[in-house]
Symmetry: C2
Subunit: 155 residues, 2 copies
């Protein structure tokens, strides 16, 4: 197949292509654990913000309350997260369960291995440059990616 393509010159398109390729590696690691990138990100956020509520988690993930609830349901079902009484009677306080921490560490280690494998084509300095440019591309300056989540205005 001819892959000639007006889009190849767009950074957004190349980023998206690279993302899809690397995603497959991440999914190979995460699927056996019943996780996805979004779920793993949620776990990281909960770990860094113990006691946060579902709405705040949704805002951080750019999804709405309803979707955040489903995501938390899945993490609770996997015995990774628990809902404790929150700051008032409407609110849940999200916490990692006690043994989630080491499980998370193991998953991240596997992920690092997969990431290293998939970026082996680049030299060390190239990898550093790529990371720096990607971070610069995304460095928030008050603005956030627009989302359709009515319940999830900018964090």
């Amino acid at each position: 197949m001819n892959r000639d393509n007006d889009l190849d010159e767009l950074i957004g398109y190349q980023v998206q292509s690279a993302s899809l390729r690397m995603l497959s590696g991440a999914q190979r690691v995460l699927e056996p654990h019943g996780l996805s990138v979004a779920k793993l990100t949620a776990l990281m956020i909960i770990r860094s913000n113990p006691g946060c509520d579902q709405t705040a988690l949704g805002r951080a993930l750019n999804i709405n309350r309803s979707s955040a609830m489903k995501l938390v349901n899945a993490l609770v079902a996997r015995h990774l997260v628990e809902r404790r009484p929150g700051r008032d009677l409407r609110t849940n306080a999200l916490h990692l369960v006690s043994d989630a921490e080491p499980r998370l560490a193991e998953i991240v280690a596997e992920l690092r291995g997969s990431d290293a494998q998939m970026t082996a084509r680049l030299t060390g300095p190239e990898q550093e440059t790529l990371l720096r440019l990607l971070r610069k591309l995304g460095a928030a300056k008050g603005r956030r990616a627009t989302s359709k989540a009515a319940d999830a205005p900018p964090a």
Copy 2:
């Protein structure tokens, strides 16, 4: 919200984050045209490979026959693509409709504008470097991203 995150050091994670951010810009452009990134990519592939069949299109997009068919249905409904008789009686030959070319050109122009806007934070040389590294990251060497599409073995 504290965004501390073990994953931020992973290239795959940064690529994915950047992809999600840039996707929102692309979607703003594509949605009014009833398109998505996958649909636009399909149009590019069909334009570069006039007469290709649906299964080949699916392979190129890493989706299976069934999904490729739905995608083509949507493009036909939008009067962008037509199915003509193929090389044998089982096969469709996919072609852009006659006026799709200028519509495509306009969409790509809009997309270029959106891309430029979203990468304005990087200098010109930085943009070139980023593009080069992303391409190097993805440069196929006989291998392809693994997919779950049973119908879509490597292209």
